[in-house]
């Protein structure tokens, strides 16, 4: 169970990798995350989480796409693995089922 639990930031990074599909590398993930969440993210935190997620087997990576503005350095491109997709699904299912269990009155009432 322990290996399958995701932190919030980990989940967001995984989802971002999904959103970016075939251009998911460190800086693009950081930009996307900042755009989506409206908060600033450290590039080192992004890389740290990427390394960890790859170690856990939720991500795969390969090198590619060197450009001039990168000083000729290649990008490390990430993609979701089957396990990564599964853990994201599980996390959404868990949320959905918990959402449904919250009584409607909680959302509607509450003024008295």
């Amino acid at each position: 169970m322990k290996g399958t639990s995701l932190g919030e930031f980990e989940e967001l990074v995984l989802l971002t990798v999904g959103i970016l599909h075939d251009d998911a590398y460190g800086l693009a993930i950081k930009d996307q995350l900042e755009a989506q969440s409206k908060r600033s993210v450290m590039i080192s935190s992004v890389h740290k989480v990427l390394v960890r997620l790859e170690d856990k087997g939720y991500l795969n990576s390969q090198m590619g796409g060197a450009t001039a503005e990168r000083g000729g350095r290649q990008k490390r491109l990430y993609e979701l693995t089957a396990a990564g997709k599964k853990v994201l699904n599980r996390s959404r299912d868990l949320r959905n089922s918990m959402w449904e269990q919250v009584p409607k009155v909680v959302w509607e009432g509450g003024s008295n």
């Binding site: 590398y25 460190g26 800086l27 950081k30 450290m42 590039i43 080192s44 890389h47 740290k48 390394v51 960890r52 990576s61 090198m63 060197a66 503005e69 990168r70 000083g71 350095r73 290649q74 990008k75 490390r76």
Partner: protein
Amino acid sequence: MGRRQQLTNQPPKWISKFFRWFCRKDLVDGIEGDLIEIYQRRLQAGGKIYASTRFLLQVISFFQPFAFRKRSKKSQLTNMDMFKNYFKVGFRNLVRSKFYAAINIVGLAIGIAVFIVMAAYVKNETSYDKFNGKWDRIFRVEYQYEANGNSQEVVKTPFPLKPMFLNDYPEVEHVVRFYQNRLDATTLRYKESHFTEDNVLFADPEVFKVFDFELEEGNTENALADINSIVMTRAVAKKYFGEEDPMGKVIKYKNDDQLKVTGILKDVPETSHISFDILVPVELQRQRWIRGDGNNGYDFEKDWRWSGAWQYVLLKSPEAIGAFSEKLIENGKDFFGRSDLLEYDYSATPLSEIYLHSNKSGEFMANGNIRQVYGFAVIAVLILVIACINFINLNTARSAKRAKEVGLRKVMGAQRDQLIRQFIVESVLIVFCAVALATLLIEVMLPVFNQFMDKSLSIPYQEHPEIILIYFAGALTIGVFAGVYPAYYLSRFHPIRALKGKSATQGRGNIQMRKVLVTSQFVISNLLLVTIIIVQSQLEFIKGKDLGFNKDHVIVLKHGGKLDESFEVFSDRLKSTPYVVGTNLGYVAGTRDWTQSFTVEGQELEEAKRIGIKHVGFDFMKMFDLKLVEGNYFSKKWWRKSRNGILLNEKAVKAFGWTNEEAINKKMSYVGGSDNKTRFDCTVIGVLADAHLESLYEPIRPSVFKFSLWGDVSIKLNAGNNNELRNAISEVQKVWDEISPEWPFEYEFLDEVIAEQYLKEERLGQTIKYFTFLVVFVACLGLFGLASFTIEERTKEIGVRKVLGASVGAILVLVSRGFFKMVVLSFLISIPLGIYFGQAWLQEFEYRIEITPLVFVISGILSIVIAALAVGGQSLKAAVSNPVKTLRYE
């Protein structure tokens, strides 16, 4: 231009370099690319400085574990495995060459054991008096005076100094005075137990406030406050009271004073330069003298002329010594306002310096000698160095055996530092074995050493378990130290040459080095041989020296003054037996005497000469076989003339500038007597030949012999053999028991008393002999190992030579020539060094031997014989071996 453009668009190089240095290889491109992209953006937005600063901050933000280069777990494991392998190979090597391993380990173990024993000795010697918590505030008051070109340093001072210090010197907290009369026997009695005690010390009650002498029972605050009190050790108390509780018991002092036991002393620590078994208040002695006891109201508290007490001041702070010393020197110059004839030079010696640095007149007991401590420390280091040299020599010499291993390891990819590590691990392994053996050796050596040096040293493993840790650290240090040269040397081999089996030794450097080491080893052991021969012959010289008097068959009685009245009767009774030749009450030949200032008639007091005075009786000259060179000796026949007459020795005659004839009938006077005020006039009636009545450390003193009945009793016995001697002594005891039955009969042989003066040297000689033996043994062990190895290497060569017709003698010369060259060379080097050190030691003696070439001839022959034994056996074995066998060995 484009290249330049590109360069300026890049972040600062040094930051990238730093990043690439720490970042793991698989991540570095991906991350660095991202960072450069961000940099480019910032460059557009905020300029170069802004972008570079942010770039640096970002790089720093990556400086965390996830991004670090991985030291792969796999390679760490290999490291441990390699160490295991080093140990395994090292151990196999030891087992394979048991012979060399044994030589290495035994040699080193002896070296280490000697080193540790010596270290224990040096530590003990240097820790004297440090058990006193206030040692840095305690100082002994001493003075030096000059008289007619003679200066003398004295550690005893007049009693009234104490009240003066307490009144006028605010920095002084306490003063404690000790007094002891060694010529006087103290007897104690409790019921039937009656003994003479010679370790009694008179002390001021403050003794426990200044020094940390402890009481097992009783209160240090007031133990000696009462004049009729006594404290003693448990052992002494047991002698008198047996199993009874000694506290509060009353004991009889010298058959009259009644003293109450107010405390039981813990044994005085061995590292105290003052020692005693019994303490009595100094006030007791004062009262005894005031009320009489032959001294007629003498009060030492008022006597500034008699320097009779050891005085120790406790200052309020260690820094106060500056002020105290200054005042002491200034006020002491004119003897604290009691201007005398002489110039006095007062000083204060720190307690911690007394034992090792002070050797003055009137020391409490024979002190240690800092030079001896240094000497022993040097021997300790030398023997350890010799053992290490052996180790280095044998290891490098045997390198050829290891050459193939080294070559193979190198081919398999071993780095040089790995090989060095391997050999150092091996050397540490051997040293650890040696240390283990050394700890056993120490247990054997310490008792012997203690006996020689009259010490009771031990290694306190229980109280200080950290000693074991020190052993470990020491073993590691020696292992690395001794292993480093062989390791560098062995790891230098060129793999191809080593594997081809060619001599892996490159050049002659190593052989030269080995020669230098062996030679220096033998210089050291030769030096010790020379030293021991010099010490031995000096001791023989002293023992055999004609002292100018006959000390045989003389016994000395300590009678505590009780024979003073009955001496005539005692003497007559003894002389009526056939066993006694003569008796004397007074000065005992061979011991120290008193000193008085003599003036010749018509001279001013200022011209007084300080001369030794010896109180003697009618038999003195006859008893000790002294020669009369002029005039007459004391005799009952001219009693009146004898009473005021004195005899001089030849030295004294010379000191006054007379000839022997001129001296006769000269009139002289001196001030002395028990109150130190009486003026004595005397006339010279004769001159005695010079004799070494005092120790041979000093020149013969100018001396005056005066007729007087005061002092110890010496008795010359008439005995040809031991049996007669026993009879004579029992006869003397019979007479003694009749004359003074209430006193125990105790005596000493004079020749033993005199021999005791040289006991220290005797012990030193014994100890050096013992250690010289060990040093020579270790050095020979090394030589032996080296020789057997060299010969093993040349087995084939010797076989071929024999086949071609070489004789045994020729081969013997061939293989041992090299070693003998080294031994002879080292012998030549050790000659000047030996002369230098020998002379330095002999300086202490007034009468000493010359260092003759014979000393060197003997030591030279000795060392060559020893070397021959070490090398010869192996050489001979090689020389007579059958070439068929040796040539077949492949």
